[in-house]
């Protein structure tokens, strides 16, 4: 190749900070979430000198990572974080583990003391690569400016390839200041990390034959389908409709299959629907695609779906046979796998057992009649379920593009149960790590990526206080996020477990000394609203949505409402507890069950 101006430009010399920014631009980054400090001043100076990349100044580094997760989850792009050394990096750790557990592609640039001071307990020094090694998919400490550009490009490749995840690049200050060559992203394959994305045809065929012969099949789809891009969700829908099988989604998979479709059984697992869990328990062939047999999903392992042949499609071979042994393993990207399954389904001559499937559906319809998510909105107090359901119905009626994030706890489960997601990438929740304080910064990241969309953080009054400082970020950037607090004055899920497992001794789970959320909103230049009357709920929701700026809506709800259905810890799918007024009641929880979280 001749030396075109581009290739000349490819080796031009810059300082480290400029190399970092150039690499971000070349990898399509438009926005970074960060917080400055001494070690990253050269990078902030480089940011000052350019306009291509927008910087969003958060108020806490944990929030920067959650915002980047929200940005990534809602766009399919890599989210980028910039924090300083020491406390900047350690504050980011919770966000990194959150992204690791939920497989969200994030790059976190951390400042570091200059290389000659590393190991000297210098001011704001932390062993960032040591601390984040188990908190990331991979991390780098750049000690040679000649390798900086290569590391930056590799970080993007690693964050988004295979099973996505967070990557830390630790940048000593002398590296940011020193001069070195900028090289473009390599076109050659990575030396060692080359995850397999195309499924083996034999595995696909084995799966199709099992599914066609199934009498009681079920599709169990998770966050891997979302991570594989919207095409994977479209293919999932096509495959489920073509095969006529029932489909359930994990918490992370909500939106992968349209919630209002008849073939959708709702979410499964600890607070999943009766029909989804019983269908999982009773199926004879299970297709798990992009989910990982999480303990919230399986319940007691030795009683999990005892009679089924299991097919597990996952991009990460370490997910296969980790907790549940499977009969057919398919390693590959969810979209590629679904495309292959569809093609094979249409070509394979094996007849499908349609009469048996019809009988299976009759059974499922019987379970559906339990109407496990029913509640009674009566009296003068708002039921939390009703608040979420009305929020869903009103946003659906308005037809605006709507994104929902949550914090962690009862409100999160009610959001998952009562808010129907018709498409992927519109639901953001901390599934694996269960991070209280996730929802507000995640919503912020979504709103930055989608300025005209309606972005709502369904929150609890306890969780919201964990990253409440981000209200200032909303104000600074005029991000019109709506915070919809289901305020029951308890850490509701803790209270519920104490009621069920610890004799209603509500040890430290009451949210005492709460702020006045209306005044709190106002002090952060947002609109504050409060509603306690069920008759005014709809009007309040409409007013919240209509308001052009950020809103905190304090919804005072039934204080001791519990979240049902529920599979108690240590129980099996067919031992679930239904809500009051329904069959079952509180099943005994064994000591072994109490040990589980």
């Amino acid at each position: 190749m001749s030396a075109s101006p581009e290739t000349l430009a490819a080796t031009r010399t810059m300082n480290g900070a400029e190399i970092v920014l150039q690499a971000l631009k070349d990898n399509g980054v438009e926005v970074i979430f960060g917080y400055p400090g001494g070690a990253v001043l050269p990078l902030y100076d480089a940011i000052f000198h350019q306009n291509a990349i927008r910087h969003i100044l958060v108020r806490h580094e944990q929030a920067a990572v959650h915002a980047a997760e929200g940005y990534a989850r809602s766009t399919g792009k890599v989210g980028v974080v910039l924090v300083t050394s020491g406390p900047g990096a350690t504050n980011a750790v919770t966000g990194l583990v959150d992204a690791l557990m939920d497989s969200i592609p994030v790059i976190c640039l951390t400042g570091q003391v200059p290389t000659h001071l590393i190991g000297n307990d210098a001011f704001q020094e932390a062993d960032t690569t040591g601390i984040t090694r188990p908190a990331t998919k991979h991390n780098y400490l750049v000690k040679d400016i000649n390798k900086l550009a290569g590391v930056m490009h590799e970080a993007f490749y690693v964050a988004k390839s295979g099973r996505p995840g967070p990557v830390v690049v630790d940048l000593p200050k002398d590296i940011l200041i020193g001069k070195g060559p900028y090289t473009e992203a390599p076109t050659t394959p990575h030396r060692s990390y080359r995850p397999k994305t195309r499924p083996e045809p034999q595995a696909i065929q084995a799966a199709v034959r099992l599914l066609k012969g199934a009498k009681r099949p079920i599709v169990y789809a998770g966050g891997g389908v979302i991570n594989a891009g919207p095409e994977a969700s479209r293919l999932l829908t096509e495959f489920v409709r073509l095969s006529g099988m029932p489909c359930t989604n994990t918490l992370m998979g909500l939106g992968a299959y349209p919630a209002e479709d008849r073939q959708f059984l709702g979410m499964l697992g600890m607070h999943g629907t009766y029909e989804a869990n019983l269908a999982m328990h009773g199926c004879d062939v299970m297709l798990n695609i992009g989910a990982r047999f999480d303990d919230r999903v399986t319940g007691r392992l030795n009683a999990f779906s005892p009679a089924s042949k299991k097919i597990h499609a996952d991009i990460d071979p370490s997910s296969i046979n980790k907790s549940v042994p499977v009969d057919v393993a398919i390693i590959g990207d969810a979209a590629a796998t679904l495309a292959a399954l569809l093609e094979c389904w249409q070509q394979d001559p094996t007849p499908q057992d349609r009469p048996a499937l019809a009988g299976w559906w009759r059974q499922i319809e019987e379970w559906r009649k339990t109407n496990c998510l029913q509640y009674r909105q009566e009296g003068a107090i708002i039921k939390p379920q009703h608040a979420v359901k009305r929020l869903y119905e009103i946003t659906r009626e308005l037809g605006r593009e709507t994104f929902i994030s949550t914090e962690v706890g009862q409100h999160q489960m009610w959001a998952a149960q009562y808010f129907g997601f018709q498409q992927p990438n519109h639901w953001l929740t901390s599934g694996g790590l269960g991070t209280m304080g996730y929802g507000l910064p995640a919503a912020m990241g979504v709103q930055v990526a989608h300025p005209d969309a309606l972005v709502i953080d369904i929150a609890g009054e306890a969780s919201i206080l964990m990253n409440i400082q981000e209200m200032a970020t909303l104000a600074q950037y005029r991000l019109p996020v709506k915070v919809f607090i289901l305020n029951n004055e308890y850490m509701g899920m803790v209270r519920q477990w104490q009621e069920l497992l610890h004799g209603s001794r509500y040890s430290e789970s009451y949210s005492a000394a709460l702020p006045d959320f209306v005044k709190l909103a106002e002090s952060f230049h947002a609109r504050g609203m409060r509603v306690s009357d069920p008759n005014q709920l709809d009007a309040a929701i409409r007013e919240m949505i209509a308001h052009p700026g950020a809103v905190i809506m304090d919804v005072l709800v039934e204080k001791e409402e519990s979240c049902f259905p529920m599979i108690p810890s240590g129980a099996a799918h067919n031992e679930m507890i239904l809500g009051p007024g329904q069959a079952g009641g509180v099943a005994g929880v064994t000591d072994e069950g109490k040990v589980l979280v």
Partner: protein, 173 residues
Amino acid sequence: MPNPSETALRNATIAVLVENEAGILARVVGLFSGRGYNIESLTVAPVDDARRLSRITIVTSGTEMVIEQIKAQLDRLVPVHKVSDLTLEGPHLARELALIKVVSRGENRVEALRLAEAFRARVVDATTESFVFELTGAGDKIDAFCALMQPIGLAEVSRTGVVAILRGPSGLS
């Protein structure tokens, strides 16, 4: 009833070819401690300077499911090139080197030398009251030698841990 393959423990000698870079050993060791896997022995050294590769040999034990997990978890580390379960892949050689110090006088000293000869251990250091023996072999051979030396003055043992390689022409890279 649980399938015996799900509960029976087996040993595995796993060879891992990795990038020779800072932190790789910490990644591997951290993976084992973080996920609660056993490490019976772990050795590491560069094996290919031109390609910047090191080889780690890990001896571990677990159920078949756990060993499969260990291999998959190792394989998804970014700097890992190849993971090979030598125990499954076929006949392999596994060797350890030990330096064994025996402090004794009189008849015990003579006996120590005699045993060393029987085990083909080499004397690599000697004083009037001590020997350091160098012994290479499978782990159980070194165990047996140390056990025999125990009553006659075994003072200190330093072992390398296991290195292993497949028999025959096929290799890891």
